[in-house]
Amino acid sequence: MKKSLEQLGQYFLLMKIVFTRPDKGRIFRKQFFIDTEKLVLNSIPIIAVISVFIGAVIVIQTAYNIESPLIPKMYVGYMARESLVLEFCSTMVALILAGKVGSNISSEIGSMRISEQIDAMEMMGINSANYLILPKIASATIFNPLLMLMSFILGLLGGAMIISLTGVITLSQYSEGLQYAFRMYYIFYSMIKMAVFSFIITSISSYYGYYADGGSLGVGRSSTKAIVASSVAILLANLVITQLMLN
């Protein structure tokens, strides 16, 4: 318990150093675009594949579970849309990113720590935490909500694709369901969630990487801890945001 509180304190102290004015705006912008490519653009393929398949699976499962002839078939589209926008495209995608991006960040920063690259920056008088971590947090927090939107659209397309292939319902029923009782606020809510989750993933993973020790084994351990801690924090944040925004 004491160690956890110490770590929490250390995390907030690190964030205090991270959120300072960058030494040079030009260097920050360059780093920001590099990290956007690495953390956001490179995540598109995996998110796209998973979203299409999950969209398809949700449609099939919902269609086969609606047995009553009294329930209109268009509810398949409605339920697929709600499942995707409320939980999958933000929370599930964030958990996937915690594994992919989180381990990438913590191992990259961790290996820089153990090979004294961070010491070299500090020694030059560069705020290494600000230089290495702030662009990652900024790029993921700004652009990952767009990944959520992309995931939502591809999930819906995956549903449409499986309907065309299997004919579980008609495309017009699906389309009607997608438009039924549509609330734009849910998309806004999901994008806010994704922004918060992205902050959690990048900051926690950076924290574990920044304080990695114990050689290459230590880097591996910090990577594992980063994924576990980010995932737990995402689930807790999901609960809190949902309570605040949907209650």
């Binding site: 030494d23 040079k24 260097i27 290996s111 820089m112 090979s115 004294e116 690259q117 010491d119 070299a120 500090e122 020694m123 030059m124 008088g125 560069i126 705020n127």
Partner: protein
């Protein structure tokens, strides 16, 4: 000149540096020697501010470095170059970008001026046509040279080297030693080198300080290292069978 006064450092119950006081002068290669775990690296990292000392003072000329904040230390750090044990080259950057890194942060030079300075520094360490290579494409000796080129990029007044010869063959070690010594004399730099390589001591050690279990037990020049009365220093210097044999031959 760098002056250290009564420096103390603990890690938990481990008393790593015990009341260290020493001076390092410009134009000299000052070597810190001692066994692994004796506190050499902690002393070096305390000197550059990577470790906060528990007590004592570190002076860079007339500035009390040890009492400055991170931002206040920046001005001194611009005048410091450091070569790390494993070179610590940024593995996300090419050789050219590594050497240019401090220039990007601390100068307003144009791109052509930076490139000119990069090429000058790489030439100075006898490296050519390596600008676009990544650090993992270089040999250990070449990585050390790029590390030195980066360390001298901003014309430092102070140069720190943490075991510059570790992992290098004897011939490359001598080349690196000579390079550091030449640069020190050429630019009148205050150079502090951590090493446990006795060849380096005899090659370039203008001043030598011996650290044993966190204490500075002996200080002198390289000629006196071999004839010292300090028992711990003798055990360290004449540790190998060959050194013992040479000592017997010397009588």
């Amino acid at each position: 000149m760098i002056q250290v006064k009564n420096l103390e450092k603990h890690f938990g119950d481990n008393h790593v540096l015990k009341n260290i006081s020493i001076k390092y002068r410009p134009g000299e290669c000052s070597l810190i020697i001692g066994a692994s775990g004796s506190g050499k690296t902690v002393l070096l990292k305390s000197l550059v501010g990577l470790h906060e000392p528990d007590s004592g003072e570190i002076w860079y000329d007339k500035v009390k470095f040890s009492s400055l904040s991170f931002n206040e230390k920046k001005n001194i750090r611009k005048e410091i170059g450091m070569l790390f044990q494993g070179s610590a080259l940024f593995d996300f950057a090419t050789v050219e970008e590594n050497v240019r890194f401090p220039m990007d942060f601390f100068t307003e030079w144009s791109e052509s001026e930076k490139l000119e300075r990069v090429n000058f520094c790489l030439n100075r360490v006898n490296l050519k046509n390596v600008n676009k290579l990544m650090p993992n494409e270089l040999s250990g000796g070449m990585q050390k040279r790029v590390g030195i080129a980066r360390a001298i990029a901003l014309n430092p007044k102070y140069l720190f080297c943490d075991e510059p010869n570790s992992g290098l063959d004897p011939q490359t070690s001598i080349l690196i030693d000579q390079l550091i010594s030449e640069i020190t004399k050429e630019y009148n730099i205050t150079t502090v080198i951590n090493t446990h390589d006795m060849n380096s001591v005899m090659e370039i050690g203008d001043r030598v300080g011996f650290i044993h279990k966190g204490e500075l037990l002996w200080e002198g020049d390289k000629e006196n290292v071999l004839t010292s009365d300090c028992e711990e220093l003798n055990s360290f210097v004449f540790a190998s069978r060959m050194a013992k044999k040479v000592k017997e031959m010397m009588g």
